[in-house]
Symmetry: C2
Subunit: 369 residues, 2 copies
């Protein structure tokens, strides 16, 4: 059984064991990055020790949500620093993140649980602000918070509050029609939207500008001021996802948080065993974000987003889906396509060259979610 | 709407607003106690700020799990200190706790998610030990871990690791039969096992000795040595619950963790608007635990347990249920009964007196789960 797991784990990697082998003895901050370091931790020290049963294969897939029967299930611990930032706070972030992870497998989010870990000394007024923000976000997504827990721990490195949200979703009523539309154009198996669904010729889109969340956190944390305030894009996207599933032909969806768009596309490429070409000139990046990235020496493709969805669909439906996305956010655009002619993720740069877009090793901006 | 919530919240309290009104501005360690301080925090500063919809009334019930349709849903953040203790660790504790909370509403646990918050510097070997322990416990409960998240934060007060588990359960196939058997003997409404189900004459049982978990944590944390090691009772109880639901006539179930048996019984009494009589001489307490409690000046009824279930059932089925419980643990016993003749929870003491068993204010042993 262990062997089978190793095959599955390794099977995801393009060139054998691609994660970084290590003789490590202690957890480091980079292990929580969402990049190769974290993948190594998960694969070498967590998943490899599990005697996985068939029902748990969904865990090994490491998609945005697990699935069992017609239910999608996901969890996230939010350790963002600071807990209040331009455009959002740990409350709106946690609900949006969980709703978006549920949406990314093609489910309709129905219920959310929230476990709060509060640090002694947290202002009650901050707690109340967070709670109200959680509910406002849940309302806007039409989901319900139906279970909770509250713990208090001594003062330390917590940034005063951690929120763990989990969510359950029901298979979307538009999923069967969506899959049927994919099958009208190419072979497709499976009942859910998965990272391993990407097929030759699929068009890749994003619903708006990238990097806003990470840069907003960074500027707030470090006290950096830009000419105009960069706001986090934190928001739930379940209604938008529902509308594009209704159009049909969607093959992959991914919430590009830790590790950014770069990590999301690399996960698709590895799990689907197919190449991806991205056109740099098409990437929607706000001028302020672009300037900030240059200043800080950070690749905007590696920065986490919290109100974005990377979408792949059959070519035949890409224009219709783009139109729907543009209705919500003008910056929505097609950023590339999948092709079996290459391996990995390749960026066609603005200056006319090509650059391999690697899975980030660590995180350029830690603790953004 | 807010008014409706306040009525619901206050409606649970025997004598109007029973929680402690405060002008507090900061979170204190006592707020995570599971006692009156925590109830006050939840009711005054969390629930009262929510504009609760019908789907969320289950959150206000504050039972061990929430329910939506035929699904039970629960979450817990485990901040236990130390993370390894006699008889268990944070891994077995988190899985058992979540399984038991799902069982306590009459559901069959099917899937678990696990969000790990690791502190920089945690030994990889400790992490692996915790992961293996989680899986071993999940296997023994026949549940599957299907979703996860991993975050790393800087060194602080974490005790190196926090585990947040959430779980989903399906309505047990024995629940309809169980409820039918209750209805053979008295009026009963509702589709789930709830804290508000306790009825006049119901017999109250426990499946084994109390206080073991809290004292084991305390002895390990403080380095206190007793003549024989006291082990935590941490274990999943879903199979046991299934067997007693199969017998039928079960009205309430509760996992007496933070706040202990005392808190569990007070919650039943308040939510069901009925009195409870407990016989002190029947309480199953191990000699070592009893000695430790006396030494430390702690009431064993206020200590958290992690492998216990307090059970209420119609009198007609109590002997059969007791027999089933005894098959698993010899110390299982009937500890009292519900009666409309009194208010609140009253302890008939060994020396022949009566003592009101109050909801604990804080926690005699903090951070046991």
């Amino acid at each position: 059984m262990i062997e089978a797991i190793e095959n599955i784990v390794n099977g995801r990697c393009k060139k054998g064991v691609r994660y970084m082998k290590s003789e490590k003895k202690f957890i480091t901050v980079g292990d929580g990055s969402g990049g190769l370091l974290m993948q190594s931790l998960l694969k070498e020290h967590i998943l490899s020790h599990l005697d996985i049963k068939e029902e748990e294969l969904t865990l090994l897939d490491m998609d945005d949500s697990g699935t069992i029967g017609d239910i999608a299930f996901t969890t996230d611990a939010y350790t963002v620093k600071p807990i209040f930032f331009p455009g959002g706070d740990i409350g709106s972030l946690s609900i949006s993140g969980t709703v978006n992870d549920l949406s990314a497998v093609g489910s309709k989010p129905i219920a959310i649980s929230s476990a709060l870990i509060l640090e002694e000394g947290l202002e009650i007024s901050s707690l109340e602000k967070i709670i109200k923000s959680m509910q406002k976000t849940a309302r806007s997504a039409d989901v319900y918070i139906i279970a909770g827990d509250t713990k208090v721990i001594e003062r330390g490195a917590l940034e005063k509050c951690i929120v763990c949200t989990s969510g359950i979703g029901k298979r979307s009523r538009f999923l069967d029609g969506n899959i049927e539309e994919v099958r009208n154009h190419r072979e497709f198996s499976g009942r859910w939207i998965k990272d391993s669904n990407l097929g030759d010729g699929d068009v890749i889109l994003i619903n708006g500008s990238i990097g806003d969340h990470g840069i907003s956190i960074m500027s707030k944390r470090e006290g950096i001021e830009f000419e105009s305030e960069i706001k986090s894009d934190t928001k739930p996207l379940n209604h938008l996802v529902e509308r594009i599933l209704k159009i049909g032909g969607v093959t992959c969806l991914k919430d590009p948080t830790r590790g950014g768009v770069s990590n999301a596309l690399n996960e698709w490429s590895e799990k689907s065993h197919i190449g991806i070409v991205v056109d740099e000139e098409k990437l929607p990046i706000k001028r302020e974000v672009s300037v900030a990235c240059e200043l800080l020496g950070i690749d905007p493709l590696q920065i986490g987003n919290e109100g974005k969805m990377v979408i792949a669909c059959v070519r035949e439906r890409s224009e219709e889906i783009l139109e729907e996305l543009k209705r919500a956010e003008e910056e929505a655009t097609i950023i590339g396509h999948a092709t079996k002619d290459i391996e990995g993720v390749v960026l066609n740069t603005i200056v006319g060259g090509k650059r391999i877009l690697e899975t980030p090793i660590g995180d350029p901006i830690p603790r953004i979610c």
